[in-house]
């Protein structure tokens, strides 16, 4: 059975998900995802015309919060887990290497 998802698509999806796959992983992924999608595809052919998709499990509306301030984290706590804190902020590499 031809793969449901091909190499190009795997690379595209990996890019969307910010994952880097090795050549080997790409190959494995093509096979595994195709197998899973092949099974999952059974629902594609079901006639579900007129059925509302479930978007919320509990039937609630207007679950809101009063506009009252609470205490924010002290800055040192906010930065405590930061991989690279710098000048009171979170330092990250820029989008494109020069």
């Amino acid at each position: 059975m031809p793969p449901v998802i091909d190499r190009e698509q795997v690379l595209h999806v990996a890019r969307l998900a910010r994952l880097r796959l090795s050549e080997e992983e790409v190959e494995t992924m093509v096979g595994e995802l195709s197998g899973i999608l092949g099974h999952v595809d059974r629902i594609a052919s079901l006639d579900l015309e007129g059925v509302e998709p479930t978007s919320h499990v509990v039937a609630l509306e207007n679950v809101l919060r009063a506009d009252e301030p609470w205490r924010s984290l002290p800055r040192d706590v906010a930065l405590a887990s930061a991989p690279e804190p710098s000048e009171g902020a979170f330092r990250v590499p820029s989008p494109q290497a020069e």
Partner: protein, 481 residues
């Protein structure tokens, strides 16, 4: 000391009330027991030192508990069994855990699990698999494998787990204990590291149904920090039913068709007979869409997960790698090095299902199947009080038996997944032992009972009566044969 560890939480509670057991003795016995972990059930054990100060109860007066490492515990390591959160200590504690701390429960430690709750065998942990106390060459189930093994293996009197597609019930079945997944919305999800937001729920793993009721009573309730939480109207109290008279139990025709191991089927049939002998009625019901549960689940859960796990990007906490390159380099290296294979697989599946051009065919369609499944249950519950199935189609399998075949791993969830899709409560109780292929030792079989939304009390009552009727009192390591 060994006797203290034999007591269920309720028994210990009664003993404390009668002055026969001191809370301190009880707590110390369990902390000591937790230290004998050879099953790799714990990722972190609480030494009750300064780093655990934020999660220390004001006074010990309740049974200590093991908490799945998916719950944020302030100041104490929380990894979701992933490399990407190695060393991470949250600045806050999950609401569910806070409630337990307030009720006086010391935290024994954080238990091992499948990474980010994705798995059915606890083999997807970045910190090694968990071993099944009944047979250490076998898996304890997943994703709450550590919690289940700890309770079954005498390393904790009770434990907190989470269930998205069966992750409390299936390990409970594989480990011969009780596992309860409450109705979606019964317990707050705030602080519970998200896998699939519309499916995740936390719940108790215990040795008895009564202990599960005790724990559920402490956990349930609306939380202003979780918009999807409502609690259980009327709360929960200890069950005390003695029979099942007047109760109707439905067996879904479609699911019974699927291949179930002979040993599992035998115990299941015997349990149906037990129900009848207790005065319950067993009838066939139809859940026509339930067979599509796996397909719908393995679109919806990965889709939500792909979004929930996108925050693990090396910017604000957790692991960072490739930071010498540019931003994309950092993102890709961090996530590729930090996530395990199963997590990556599900992120890929989910991203694909949501991507442009595929949304309607996959995610849109899966959410419609979900509606149908919920409708099926609703219709069935107008004719019966409960729906019953084996919890899992097989006994606990061998380590590495299914790791090369993800799809076959997924198919083991066929009985548990439809429950999550419909948001219903369900419990797995140990119903007997069966012999696996290849002989000894015998392994436990779980019996699943599902009920309508927010019918936890009735569910616990029925499960309790059945549990008493079955009288399952086997522990791992009992005389074999």
């Amino acid at each position: 000391m060994a006797e203290i560890l034999d007591l269920t939480v309720l028994e210990a509670h009664n003993a404390k009330m009668a002055g026969e057991l001191s809370p301190r003795e009880h707590v110390e016995a369990w902390f000591e027991a937790a230290g004998t972990d050879e099953l790799n059930a714990y990722l972190w054990r609480n030494d009750r030192g300064p780093e655990a100060a934020a999660i220390e109860p004001a006074q010990d007066w309740n049974a200590p508990i093991a908490v799945k490492d998916i719950f944020c515990t302030e100041g104490a390591p929380t990894t979701a069994a992933s490399r990407i959160l190695e060393g991470y200590r949250p600045p806050y504690t999950a609401t569910a855990v806070q409630k337990l701390i307030k009720a006086g429960l010391p935290i024994l430690g954080k238990t091992n699990m499948d990474e980010f709750a994705m798995g059915s065998s606890n083999e997807n942990s970045a910190y090694g698999p968990v071993l099944n106390p009944w047979d250490r060459t076998r898996v304890p189930g997943g994703s709450s494998g550590g919690s289940a093994a700890a309770v079954a293996g005498g390393l904790a009197p009770w434990a907190l787990g989470t269930d998205t597609g069966g992750s409390i019930r299936q390990p409970a079945a594989f480990c011969g204990i009780v596992g309860l997944k409450p109705t979606y919305g019964a317990i707050s999800r705030y602080g519970m590291i998200a896998y699939a937001s519309s499916l995740d729920q936390c719940g108790p793993l215990t040795r008895t149904v009564s202990d599960a009721a005790l724990l559920l009573a402490m956990l349930e309730g609306r939380d202003p920090l979780d918009s999807t939480s409502v609690g259980i109207d009327g709360g929960v109290s200890l069950p005390d039913r003695e029979d099942l008279a007047g109760m109707r139990f439905g067996v879904p025709a479609e699911l019974a068709r699927d291949s179930v191991d002979a040993g599992v089927r035998e115990v299941f049939e015997r349990t149906l007979e037990k129900i009848e002998s207790l005065g319950g009625e067993v009838v066939e019901v139809s859940l026509p869409s339930a067979e599509h549960g796996i397909s719908a689940y393995y679109v919806i859960a990965p889709a939500e997960a792909s979004s929930n796990l996108a925050r693990y990007d090396g910017v604000r906490y957790g692991m960072r790698a490739g930071g010498d390159g540019d931003l994309i380099e950092m993102y890709e290296t961090t996530r590729s090095d930090g996530f395990g294979a199963e997590v990556k697989r599900r992120i890929m599946l989910g991203t694909y299902a949501l991507s442009s051009g595929y949304y309607e065919a996959y995610y849109g369609q899966a959410q419609k199947v979900r509606t149908r499944i919920a409708e099926d249950f609703s219709r069935a519950f107008s004719a019966v009080d409960f729906i019953v199935t084996p919890t899992a189609p097989s006994l606990a399998f061998k380590l590495e038996e299914k790791t090369n075949d993800p799809l076959s791993m997924y198919l083991g969830d066929l009985f548990t997944v439809p429950i999550n899709l419909a948001g219903l409560p369900a419990i797995s109780i140990p119903a007997g032992l069966a012999e696996p292929e290849g002989g000894e030792p015998q392994l436990p079989v779980g019996f699943q009972i599902a009920a309508p939304a927010f019918a936890e009390q009735r569910l616990l009552d029925a499960a309790y009566a059945l549990e008493q009727g079955i009288g399952f009192d086997r522990r791992p390591g009992d005389a074999d044969g």
